[in-house]
C-alpha cells in the first residue's frame, strides 16, 4: 500500500480530530453492511446508499488550522466515479467550530452514473470566506480535513449477460411460467460471450422476482447457485457434445464461448481431454451431470 501524503498551502486538521465509523452500505431493502473494498455483484441498475457516522472535534480542527472557535465549517460527503468521471455530493451540513459533535453523513448514488471505481470521501471545509491571512485557509470551501476510500465496482470478475424480461409479454417463444431461458449458439463457439450468449430471467416468476429483489437472502442464493449451475451445465454439455469443440486444434479467440468452456474444463477437469468428456456426456449423460455437480460444488453450502 502506498501512502500518499498531501500537503496544503495552509494548515489542515490533524487526523485524530475526526473519528469516523465504517461506511455502511445499503442496497434495496437489505440491511446495511460494512463497506468492503469491492462490490462483486454490482451492476449499473443498482443504486447505492451509504452512511457513515462521524464524531467531529470541530474546535480542535479550527485550532489546528489556525481558525477561531465559532468559525462556520461544513461537513460533507462527496463521491466520484472513475468510470464516468461523475462527481456528486451527499450530505453537506453546516457546523460551527465548537466542541465535539456527532454527525451522520449519507450519500445516495444513482447506479447509472457509476463505473469502475467509486471514490467516497468525507471532508470538512471552511463554510465561509474570511479575511485573507497567510498559511491559513480563508476561501469558502477550502478543504481542512479529508478522508477518502475507494470501492471497486467493476473490473474484478466478469459478469454474465443477464436480462430480465417478462416472459408472457416478451412476444418471443418463452414459456410463460419458466424461470429462465438460456439463448446461445452451440454451433458457433467462436462468437463472443457478450454478443451471443444471453440468459433471460422471467420477471413474472415469483422465485426469480425474489432472487432479483432480495439477492442477499439465503434462498435467493440457493436459487442463484442452482441457476448458474444449470447455465454452466448447458454450456459445457452443449460444447462438449458438438464436434467442433473436441476437434479444435488451435486456441479459441479471446472472450469467445469456446474459450469460456475451455477454461471451465481446464479448471474443473484437469487432465481430461475433451474427447473423453464427450464420450461420457454422450454415453452416460446422467453420470456426466453428477460429475459436473461434484466438480462445480453444487449445493455444497447448505442453506441456513
Amino acid at each position: 500500500v502506498t501512502a500518499v501524503a498531501k500537503t496544503w498551502p495552509y494548515r489542515t486538521g490533524s487526523r485524530t480530530r475526526l473519528t469516523a465509523g465504517h461506511w455502511r452500505l445499503t442496497r434495496g431493502a437489505a440491511d446495511p453492511v460494512d463497506l468492503e473494498e469491492a462490490l462483486d455483484d454490482w451492476d449499473a441498475t443498482v443504486n447505492l446508499r451509504l452512511r457513515r457516522s462521524l464524531v467531529l472535534d470541530a474546535a480542535g480542527i479550527a485550532q489546528d488550522c489556525g481558525l477561531a472557535e465559532g468559525t462556520p465549517l461544513r461537513v460533507m460527503a462527496v463521491w466520484r466515479a472513475s468510470g464516468t468521471s461523475a462527481r456528486g455530493v451527499g450530505t453537506c451540513r453546516e457546523v460551527v467550530a465548537e466542541g465535539r459533535q456527532e454527525i451522520d453523513v449519507q450519500v445516495e448514488v444513482d447506479g447509472a452514473e457509476l463505473g469502475r471505481d467509486l471514490h467516497l470521501s468525507v471532508a470538512v471545509v471552511l463554510g465561509t470566506t474570511l479575511p485573507p491571512r497567510a498559511i491559513t485557509a480563508w476561501r469558502q470551501g477550502s478543504v481542512l480535513w479529508e478522508d477518502a476510500v475507494t470501492l471497486r465496482l467493476e473490473g474484478g470478475g466478469s459478469r454474465f449477460p443477464i436480462e430480465e424480461v417478462s416472459f408472457p409479454d416478451s412476444g418471443i417463444d418463452f414459456p410463460d411460467r419458466a424461470a429462465w431461458r438460456l439463448v446461445w449458439e452451440a454451433d458457433d463457439l467462436e462468437l463472443p460471450v457478450l454478443g451471443s450468449v444471453r440468459l433471460f430471467l422471467n420477471r413474472e416468476h415469483p422465485t426469480v422476482r425474489m432472487m432479483l429483489d432480495h439477492p442477499e437472502r439465503p434462498d435467493s442464493r440457493l436459487v442463484t447457485a442452482f441457476m448458474m449451475f444449470d447455465v454452466t451445465r448447458a454450456l459445457v454439455r452443449g460444447a462438449v457434445c458438438g464436434e467442433a469443440f473436441c476437434t479444435r486444434d488451435r486456441p479459441w479467440p479471446a472472450d469467445s464461448v469456446g474459450r469460456v468452456v475451455d477454461r471451465i474444463l481446464k479448471v474443473h477437469f484437469r487432465g481430461a481431454t475433451p474427447g473423453s468428456l464427450r464420450q461420457m456426456a454422450l454415453q452416460d449423460p446422467e453420470r456426466f451431470d453428477a460429475v459436473l455437480q461434484d466438480r462445480l460444488g453444487l449445493l455444497r453450502m447448505a442453506p441456513k
Binding site: 501524503a5 498531501k6 500537503t7 496544503w8 498551502p9 495552509y10 494548515r11 489542515t12 490533524s14 485524530t16 451492476d43 449499473a44 441498475t45 485550532q63 489546528d64 489556525g66 481558525l67 477561531a68 472557535e69 465559532g70 468559525t71 462556520p72 461544513r74 460533507m76 462527496v78 466520484r80 468510470g83 464516468t84 468521471s85 461523475a86 462527481r87 456528486g88 455530493v89 453537506c92 447509472a112 452514473e113 463505473g115 471545509v125 463554510g127 465561509t128 485573507p132 497567510a134 498559511i135 491559513t136 480563508w138 476561501r139 469558502q140 470551501g141 477550502s142 478543504v143 466478469s158 454474465f160 449477460p161 443477464i162 436480462e163 462468437l191 463472443p192 457478450l194 454478443g195 472472450d255
Partner: protein
C-alpha cells in the same frame, strides 16, 4: 434503460479502414445493423432492437440533412455547418438514446455508432485532407463524433431551465472543449454549467474581449484551486459567486474594467477574531552534541518512539518519532544534523503541520532554515511541489523575514546561484502557490512563473522549462547588501569541531563514568542520559527543571551532588562559531568534477555536490559516520587539499566556453573533423546556423543537416537533448523529460567509457551494469532496500527463480542482496543465508504428516508458505523443484505419476518391499538380464504375496534405489544389474543379437514400425528373443516376428 451494441476492436479495424477509404456513396448505403462481432453490456438494461436502431439511423441522418448534409454533395462541410450538426446531433442523441452515463462511458458503444450506424456522417463532419482522422471513429469520448456530443449534451443540458439547451447553443466549440475535456471540471455538472453561465454573464460586460481567451485564463485559475477547494460544498449562488471571482480576476488581468456583481448570498457570518499564536515550547532538554548525533543515528524507530514518549509525554504521537527527537536539536548543531542522511529523508516526510508546530518552537534558528541555503537543491529534489510550497513559505515566510512584502526576493536570495535551477524545476502551479501564499487575496496571474522570473533581474535565466530569458538590468540584490553579508557562510559547519574542542579544553568532555548518585536523582540522571563526568558538567539545570515530574528538591539535590563530584560549578564555554576562511563564491558554487568511486555513495548521502560543500566537510566528524574508514578520510583530505591549492593558485583563466571534456568523454568520441567543430560551435557554444555556416563555408541548411546527422548518430532527438546533457555536467538541472532522454542517450554509451557524472547519481539515479535505475534519491533507494529486506524476511528459502518475483528489478536487486542482505552468488544462483531452514527436511516433514501427497499439492503448499500467490508458471516451476528434491530423499518413494509416499506410509511393509527388490535383482542376475517392470511384476505375482498389491510405480522407484540396478536408456526402459555380463544390452549389443538370430531388421526399424507410444521395444525384443522370434506388445500395437513369417503390425 437501453443497452446499445458495442463494437470490438478486432471487428472495428476493417470497418474503420473501409470507412476511411470507401467512396461516400458506398458508405451511405444501408448496411446490416448488427454485424458479426457485436457485443453487449452483460447487464443494466434491455438490448435495443434492430428496428429501433434503424429508426435512430434515420433520425441522425435527418438531423444532418437539416444542416445541409446532402447525400449527393461533395465532402466539404464548412465550420458553421459542422457546429450546427454538432448541436443537432447532441440533442437527438440525448433525447432519443435514453443512455445512462454508465453505458455512455463505454467507448465501444460510440465506436459502433461511428463505424456501423453512420460512418458517412463522420466523414462529412471531419473531412480532413486524407480522410477523416481515425480517432473520430474510435472509442475516445472526447474525439468520437457521437460520444463527445452526447456527453456535451449530458453536461450542459438544464432540464429545469426554460430553454434546456441554452448553454449548448451559446457555447462555441473551443469553449466546450475547454470545459468538457477536463474531467475535474466537467465531472461535477453544476460546476461545468456554472462556468458556462459565468462566462456568458461576464463576457456580456466586456464584449470586446475574446471569449475563448477569457475562459482559457479562467480555467487555469480554476484548476489551480480545485485540489484545495471543494466546490461541491457550495450552493448554487455561492458557486456562481466563487466562479465569478475567477472570471473577474481574468478580466482584470486582461486589462478590462470589472464591474462588481452582487449575488444574493446570505450575509457572511461575522468571522471571530483569529487566535493568538501559542507560546513557543522549549525543547525538552539538552544533551551533548555527540550524544544526540549518536542518538538519532543509531536508535531504531521503536526505541525513539518509546524514548520520546518517556521524555515528553505531552507530545502528540509522531508518525516519525525520530523527527520529534531532532526537534530537540538547536542552532549550532543544525548543520551536523543536516548532513545526516536521515535528516534529508526526514525533511521529505514532514507535513505542513509539523513545520508549523516546529517553527513556533525555535524561530529562527531551526535547522531546516539553516540547511536551506547550503543544501537547498539536494533537498528540493526529494520534495514534491506541494511540499516546496509549504516549506519555502513557512521557513522563509515567517521564520526569517517577517516582512512578507520582501519575501519573493528573499527566497531567491536564499537560493542564490541555484535559483535558476529552482525556477526550471518548479511548475507553474507551485509558483502560483508561492505567490498566493505571500500575498493572499491578490489577483492571480495566469502565468505566475513569468512574475517569478521577472524578479530574477539582471541575470540571464537558462532553465529548460523556460528557455532563455534575458532580464533587464535592475538588480534588487544590490539594495540590501548588508543583509546579504550577514548571511552565514556555508562553511560554518566546520566550526562545530572547534566548539567541541573548546568543550574538551574546558574539561567538559571527560569520559570517566560518574560515581553512584544518591537515590533521589538516580532515575533522573538516567533519564537525561548522564553517564560520564563530561555529561554531568554539560547538563543544563534549567532545562532539567523544566522536565515534567522534576521539582525543586531534585534540582537542588542534583546541583549539590554535582558540586560534590566535580569540585565546583562547571562553566560551559559559550558557542562561538569560528569564521572559516571565505571561499570565492564562484568557486564554492562550482560542481565537483569526477569523484572517486569509493566516495560517491558517501558524497551523495551527505549531499556534497559543489566545492563549497567539499570544503565544508569536517574530516574529524566523518569518523562518526558508519563505514567511513581511513581510506575515505584520506581521499577527502586529498580532495580538500587539491581544492585549497586551486583557490590559492587559481588555474590560468579559461576560455569563456564551457569545459568540453565531459561532453567529449561522454559522447563525442566518434565525432571528428568538421563535424566536431560543428558540434562544439553549434551545440556547446550556441553559435547560430548562419555563423557556423560562415566559418565553415557552408550554407545554413547544410549546417542544419550536418548537425542533425551527428545528433542522429549520437542518438539524441534534438539539439536540446545534447544541451541537457551538457547542462547536467555543468550543474543545471534538466526537467524530467529531458533528463529521461538524457538517460536514454547515456545508456547507449558503452559503460566502461562512461565516467559516472556525480550530478546524475545525485538525482537519485544509479548506473548499474550500464542500466539506469532508481529515480527518487537516497530515500527511494532506502525504500527499495527495506522492501527487499521485508520480502526476504517473509520466506524461509529463496531459489534463483524466486528472485524474479522480488520487488526490485535486476540487477539492482543483485546489488542490494549482495551489499545489504548478506547474500553471495554461486554461478547464476544466489546463495541465501536467510535461515536455518532446509527445504528438503521441510518437505519430508510435510510428507511424513501427509503420508502420501501429489507433487502439485506440495508445491502449492510450499509456495503458500513463502507467501506467494501461486500462478501457473510458478507452480510449474515449484513442482519441478519439489519433484527433484523428493526424488533424492532416501525416505520418500515415488508411488505413481507425480505422487510421493513417505517410507512410514508405504502401502506394503518396508521389509516386504526390500524383499521384492532383492527378488527382482536376483531374477535379473540369474536369467532376465534386462527386464521391464511389467514383466517383473508378472513373474513375481506367483512368488510373493506382496507382489499383487505393490504398485508398479513404487516397485520401479524402489528398484531404482538399489545400488546395483541401472535404468536402461529410452529404448530399453527396464532394469538391469550393472555387473552381470548379460545385464546391460545397450544399442549395439542388441543389434548383434538380432543379427545372430537372423532378424532382418534393426531395433530402430522395428520401433519405427510399431504404433506410437511403444517405448519398450528393445527390452521386449530382448526378453522374448530366445524363442527364435519375438513378439512385442505394448500400448495399442502388437508386433510379431518369427523366422517363418513376414513382419507385420496390427492394431489393438
Amino acid at each position: 434503460m437501453t443497452l446499445y451494441p458495442r463494437l470490438r476492436t478486432v471487428e472495428a479495424r476493417p470497418l474503420i479502414e473501409a470507412a476511411l477509404s470507401a467512396p461516400l456513396e458506398e458508405l451511405q448505403q444501408d448496411r446490416p445493423l448488427l454485424p458479426r462481432g457485436i457485443v453487449w453490456a452483460p447487464t443494466g438494461g434491455v438490448r435495443v432492437s434492430e428496428a429501433r436502431l434503424a429508426d435512430l439511423r434515420e433520425l441522425i441522418r435527418e438531423a444532418a440533412k437539416a444542416v445541409g448534409y446532402d447525400a449527393g454533395m461533395p465532402l466539404e462541410p464548412r465550420a458553421p455547418e459542422g457546429a450546427a450538426l454538432d448541436r443537432r446531433l447532441a440533442r437527438v442523441l440525448y433525447d432519443e438514446l435514453h443512455l445512462t452515463p454508465h453505458e455512455a462511458s463505454a467507448g465501444d458503444v460510440w465506436r459502433y455508432f461511428a463505424c456501423v450506424l453512420a460512418p458517412e456522417l463522420v466523414r462529412w463532419r471531419f473531412p480532413g485532407k486524407e480522410g477523416s482522422p481515425q480517432e473520430r471513429f474510435g472509442t475516445s469520448l472526447r474525439r468520437n463524433l457521437f460520444g463527445r456530443m452526447w456527453w456535451r449534451a449530458f453536461i450542459f443540458h438544464e432540464p429545469a431551465a426554460s430553454d434546456p439547451w441554452v448553454l449548448l447553443d451559446a457555447l462555441g466549440e473551443d469553449e466546450m472543449v475547454q470545459i468538457t475535456e477536463r474531467p475535474s471540471a466537467a465531472g461535477y455538472r453544476p460546476l461545468a454549467r456554472g462556468l458556462a453561465r459565468g462566462l456568458l454573464r461576464r463576457h456580456r460586460q466586456a464584449p470586446g474581449l475574446n471569449r475563448g481567451n477569457l475562459l482559457r485564463d479562467t480555467m487555469k485559475r480554476l484548476l489551480r484551486r480545485l485540489p484545495l477547494l471543494r466546490y461541491e460544498s457550495l450552493v448554487e449562488l455561492e458557486l456562481d459567486a466563487a466562479l465569478d471571482e475567477l472570471f473577474s480576476d481574468s478580466l482584470r488581468a486582461a486589462g478590462a474594467e470589472v464591474r462588481q456583481l452582487t449575488f444574493p448570498l446570505a450575509p457572511p457570518r461575522e468571522a471571530p477574531p483569529l487566535p493568538v499564536p501559542s507560546t513557543p515550547v522549549r525543547p525538552w532538554f539538552s544533551i551533548s552534541l555527540t550524544r544526540r548525533f549518536a542518538f538519532v543515528n543509531q536508535l531504531d524507530a521503536d526505541d525513539v518512539a518509546a524514548l520520546t514518549l518517556e521524555l515528553s509525554p505531552v507530545d502528540p504521537l509522531e508518525s516519525e518519532p525520530r523527527w520529534a527527537l531532532l526537534r530537540g536539536l538547536s542552532v549550532p548543531h543544525a548543520r551536523v544534523v543536516a548532513a545526516l542522511p536521515s535528516a534529508q529523508r526526514l525533511t521529505a516526510r514532514l507535513g505542513s503541520n509539523d513545520l508549523e508546530e516546529w517553527l513556533a518552537e525555535g524561530t529562527p534558528g531551526s535547522w531546516v532554515s539553516e540547511i536551506l541555503p547550503a543544501r537547498a537543491l539536494s533537498l528540493l529534489r526529494l520534495l514534491d511541489g506541494d511540499w516546496l510550497r509549504v516549506w519555502v513559505g513557512r521557513t522563509l515566510g515567517e521564520a526569517i523575514l517577517p516582512d512578507a512584502a520582501d519575501l519573493p526576493r528573499a527566497i531567491l536570495r536564499q537560493f542564490d546561484g541555484e535559483w535558476s535551477d529552482l525556477l526550471g524545476w518548479i511548475d507553474a502551479d507551485v509558483c502560483a502557490g508561492l505567490l498566493e501564499m505571500f500575498s493572499p487575496g491578490a489577483p492571480q496571474t495566469s502565468d505566475p512563473r513569468s512574475i517569478l522570473a521577472s524578479w530574477l533581474v539582471g541575470r540571464t535565466v537558462v532553465a529548460p522549462s523556460l528557455g532563455r530569458l534575458e532580464i533587464p538590468q535592475v538588480d534588487p540584490w544590490e539594495e540590501d547588501v548588508t543583509e546579504e553579508e550577514t548571511r552565514p557562510a556555508p562553511t560554518e559547519s566546520v566550526a562545530h569541531t572547534a566548539f567541541e574542542r573548546a568543550l574538551r579544553e574546558a574539561r567538559i568532555a571527560d569520559p570517566r563514568p560518574i560515581p553512584e548518585p544518591p537515590g533521589l536523582i538516580r532515575k533522573l540522571l538516567a533519564r537525561v542520559l548522564v553517564r560520564s563526568l563530561g555529561d554531568l558538567a554539560r547538563l543544563d539545570l534549567a532545562t532539567v527543571a523544566d522536565l515534567p515530574g522534576v521539582g525543586k528538591t531534585k534540582v537542588e539535590a542534583l546541583r549539590t551532588w554535582r558540586i560534590e563530584v566535580l569540585g565546583a560549578e562547571p562553566v560551559v564555554p559559550a558557542y562561538v562559531p569560528e569564521p572559516a576562511p571565505p571561499l570565492p563564491p564562484a568557486f564554492a558554487a562550482r560542481r565537483l568534477g569526477p569523484v572517486p568511486g569509493l566516495l560517491q555513495r558517501l558524497f551523495i548521502d551527505l549531499g556534497i555536490f559543489t566545492y563549497g560543500d567539499l570544503m565544508a566537510i569536517d574530516v574529524d566528524g566523518l569518523t562518526a559516520i558508519e563505514h567511513v574508514g581511513r581510506r575515505k578520510i584520506e581521499l577527502v583530505q586529498q580532495m580538500q587539499e587539491a581544492a585549497r591549492m586551486e583557490v590559492e593558485q587559481p588555474p590560468p583563466a579559461r576560455s569563456p566556453a564551457p569545459d568540453l571534456s565531459a561532453l567529449e568523454t561522454l559522447v563525442l568520441d566518434g565525432v571528428t573533423g568538421r563535424e566536431r567543430t560543428l558540434v562544439n560551435r553549434r551545440l556547446i557554444e550556441g553559435a547560430s546556423l548562419v555563423e557556423c555556416g560562415q566559418e565553415l563555408g557552408l550554407s545554413r541548411e547544410r549546417v542544419r543537416q550536418l548537425t542533425s546527422r551527428v545528433l542522429d548518430r549520437l542518438q539524441f532527438e534534438h539539439a536540446t537533448d545534447a544541451a541537457a546533457l551538457l547542462n547536467a555536467e555543468c550543474g543545471i538541472l534538466a526537467d524530467d523529460r529531458a533528463l529521461h532522454r538524457q538517460m536514454a542517450a547515456l545508456a547507449t554509451i558503452p559503460f566502461e567509457r562512461l565516467r559516472l557524472p556525480l550530478s546524475l547519481v545525485a538525482d537519485g539515479w544509479a548506473l548499474v551494469d550500464g542500466e539506469w535505475m532508481v529515480r527518487g534519491g537516497p530515500a527511494e533507494l532506502d525504500r527499495l532496500l527495506s522492501g527487499v529486506e521485508e520480502w526476504i524476511a517473509g520466506r524461509q528459502f529463496i531459489e534463483a527463480t524466486d528472485l524474479e518475483r522480488a520487488p526490485v528489478r535486476q540487477p539492482l536487486l543483485g546489488i542490494i542482496l549482495a551489499e545489504h542482505c548478506g547474500m553471495r552468488t554461486e554461478g547464476d544462483d544466489w546463495v541465501v543465508d536467510v535461515s536455518q531452514f532446509d527445504r528438503n527436511t521441510f518437505l519430508e516433514e510435510r510428507l511424513r504428516t501427509a503420508g502420501t501427497a501429489h507433487q502439485d499439492e506440495l508445491a502449492r503448499w510450499l509456495l503458500a508458505r513463502q507467501g506467494d500467490e501461486a500462478k501457473d508458471a510458478e507452480v510449474a516451476r515449484a513442482v519441478r523443484s519439489v519433484e527433484g528434491a523428493l526424488s533424492r530423499l532416501p525416505s520418500v518413494y515415488r508411488t505413481a505419476m507425480g505422487t510421493f509416499t513417505h517410507r512410514e506410509a508405504l502401502p506394503i511393509p518396508e521389509a516386504a518391499l526390500a524383499r521384492l527388490v532383492d527378488l527382482c535383482v536376483d531374477r535379473m542376475r540369474g536369467t532376465a538380464g534386462a527386464i521391464s517392470t511389467r514383466a517383473l511384476l508378472d513373474q513375481l505375482r506367483g512368488e510373493d504375496d506382496h507382489a499383487a498389491v505393490v504398485s508398479p510405480w513404487l516397485l520401479k522407484d524402489a528398484l531404482k534405489r538399489h545400488p546395483d540396478i541401472k535404468v536402461l536408456r529410452k529404448f530399453l526402459v527396464g532394469y538391469a544389474p550393472t555387473f552381470t555380463e548379460e545385464g546391460v544390452l545397450l544399442g549395439d549389443r542388441l543389434e548383434a543379437i538380432l543379427r545372430e538370430a537372423g532378424v532382418p531388421l534393426t531395433t530402430q526399424e522395428i520401433t519405427d514400425r510399431l504404433p506410437d507410444g511403444l517405448e519398450h521395444a528393445d527390452a521386449a525384443i530382448y526378453s522374448t528373443l530366445r524363442n527364435g522370434g519375438f513378439a512385442v506388445t505394448a500400448g495399442r500395437g502388437r508386433f510379431i516376428w518369427s523366422p517363418d513369417s513376414e513382419d507385420r503390425s496390427e492394431g489393438a
